[in-house]
Amino acid sequence: MLASMAARLHYSRIALGVILVAVLSALLICLIYWSVHYELPNPMDTLIVRYRFNRVLSAVTAGLVLGIAGASLQGCLKNPLVDHYILGVGSGALFAVLLSILVYGYSLSIAPIAAMAGGLLALSLSIFIAESIGGTDASYVLAGLGVNALFSGLSIMLTYMVAMRYAFAIYFLVGSFTLASDKYYLTMLVSAFILLASYPILAKPLNAVLLGDEHAKQLGYNPRIYRFLAVVSAGIASSLIVSCFGIIGFIGLVSPHISRFLIKSVDHRVVIPLSGLVGAILLLLTDDFVRLILSDYVGEIPTGAIVSIFGAPFFLTLLLTRFRRGLR
């Protein structure tokens, strides 16, 4: 009796998730249309439509990727306090991009590869250190803090050297879509493709990993392989986004939490796509706020800065809540 009730509840949550995914997809499409056509001075203004489209598409894809990457990382590390930014992937990728600019100049083919290498290096360092000091929630945050500080410092140092030759270098320190253009399409597509292709492979096993390694093995999943796949795909995809638009923090942290709150479930089959959609909507709304409202008063503020203004208090609240509950 209890088992059938639990199963019914489970399926109703999945159904709710599917409905939510459909609703949010429709909302996102409407939002994209509105963002491109809002107060268009001249409906035939090709340049503005093209610019807005590039910008909106960039924000949506970046949000989608960061949202999915955040959900994957939180799931595979069993830690709700992490995302690519907290774990230092962003600053690692940024450091590598700046280093590649210093050595080769900016190249659309070299920068993403460098970003992947730097992002994965930082991610491995964070995970290695965190696991060495106990592998608790706090360990990951502290290890990420240290790795972030290291690569941020190196990045700032490199920025001083690179900015003399390449003015855009400063643009990477805080993510922005101001200079979004079609030249980033390929990188964005590769990044989204990696995560979307990994979704069917990882969604179910990540649910098993959440139960613990022993349970995962009993269910026929090798937790090491799936954890490795999730970390690598999330690391690569978010690093690629950093190589295009700079560091955008907290979207990957906030989106999975909102998704889990919406469906009251941790089932990754629903949480991952929902998190991607929430990330896309949040980032698009933030960029619209910057582009349509703030720019009239204070000029173009980098979207990454505004995301941090809203995301950081969310992270701190989360941290306080967990520590008050006695979770380490």
Partner: protein
């Protein structure tokens, strides 16, 4: 009677031209004298004698010192001044082993080097060095803040020059400079009469947006004195995007040369999409950029540089016509959107296919 009237007029006009307080003891001789200065931060500074060991922390200030032939007093300069090609500054400071004290920005200034130089006066920039005031005061270093990079108009540049002229008793030389600049502006305003009211946007940098000179910047003042209209209507230096520029609808964009070569500046501007607006974009030479960006003696050349740039560009192009296409991009953009969605779907599909295999 006439003499008294002229004297009275001079007495009234002097504080307007030089808004600094000068003691009665100040005169043009090199003898020790006490000078009272009210600097750009409204601080009152007393100089017991003419300072003979001076450190300049901004290129515009160094250029003013050299313009007034005061280089013999300079013992330290900022890093940009150290390689400043104008007014023979770079070769002079290297020949005379003037110390490079870092900077220009305050966080890059090496305070220790300034302390080692034991200067009688440090000339700092209100915009770039205000955080250092406490340090200077703590170590008992006399510092005078000039408007420097935060100058909002030519009057602010005259103010800075006025302070230096007051300290060294060179008011006449400063007046000559002001006349020279005013005449240059008057001359080129006449020459630019055919372009009066031309809507100009001045781009000063590209990072996290396209940075432009807005209202209450001395570039805005320069444009208005030449009869041109600055379309950037927010105050100060701020970043805009391509859409905002299109909304501002400038007739011409003037870009100053950024770090690197002129080609690199053009490439950076190309990346922003600014050339797609169909508005003529002029990238100034390094010399022209410096004359427009440095609130110092180089400002006297700004009118001629702007005139030459505008006339040469507008004579060769049909400048006031925007080249925006009228063809609807909807089909192309829809195809891109469909391509993105298709890649996303294929990605998920491939994922499902791979999932079928045992890992």
């Amino acid at each position: 009677m006439r003499f008294i009237l002229i004297t009275l007029c001079l007495l009234v006009l002097t504080p307007i031209v030089f808004p600094v307080s000068v003691s009665l003891a100040a005169n043009n001789s090199a003898e020790p004298r006490e000078v009272y200065i009210e600097d750009a931060l409204n601080r009152k500074v007393v100089l017991k004698r003419v300072p003979e060991r001076v450190v300049s922390l901004a290129p515009s200030i160094t250029e003013m010192l050299f313009y007034l032939d005061l280089q013999r007093y300079v013992v330290g300069v900022d890093s940009i001044s150290y390689s400043d090609p104008y007014l023979n500054i770079s070769s002079y400071v290297k020949e005379h082993e003037v110390t490079d004290v870092g900077g220009y920005w305050w966080s890059a200034i090496e305070v220790e080097k300034i302390l080692e130089l034991d200067p009688e006066l440090v000339l700092a920039d209100k915009g770039g060095h205000t955080p250092l005031l406490e340090v200077f005061e703590r170590y008992n270093i006399t510092v005078i803040y000039l408007n420097g990079g935060s100058a909002r108009s030519l009057a602010d540049i005259y103010f800075d020059l006025g302070i230096l002229a007051t300290i060294y008793g060179l008011s006449e030389r400063a007046s000559e400079f002001m006349d020279l600049v005013d005449n240059a502006f008057a001359q080129y305003r006449d020459l630019l009469k055919p372009y009066e009211g031309l809507k100009v946007l001045v781009v000063v940098g590209v990072y996290n947006g396209i940075w432009v000179a807005g209202r209450a910047t001395f570039i805005d003042d320069v444009l208005s004195r030449l009869g041109l209209v600055n379309v950037a209507n927010s105050a100060g230096w701020y970043a805009v995007d391509l859409e905002k520029i299109s909304e501002l609808n400038p007739d011409i964009v003037i870009a100053t040369q950024m770090a690197g070569s002129r080609e690199e500046t053009i490439n950076a501007l190309h990346d922003t999409g600014i050339y797609d607006l169909g508005v003529p974009v002029i990238v100034l030479s390094q010399e022209a950029s410096d004359s427009l960006q440095r609130p110092g003696p180089l400002i006297q050349y700004a009118p001629s540089h702007i005139y030459n740039a505008i006339t040469s560009m507008l004579q060769t192009q049909n400048a006031l016509e925007h080249g925006q296409g009228t063809e609807s991009p909807i089909t192309e953009l829809s195809l891109i959107a469909v391509a993105f969605i298709a890649v996303f779907v294929i990605g998920v599909f491939i994922g499902f296919v791979i999932r079928g295999r045992k890992l």
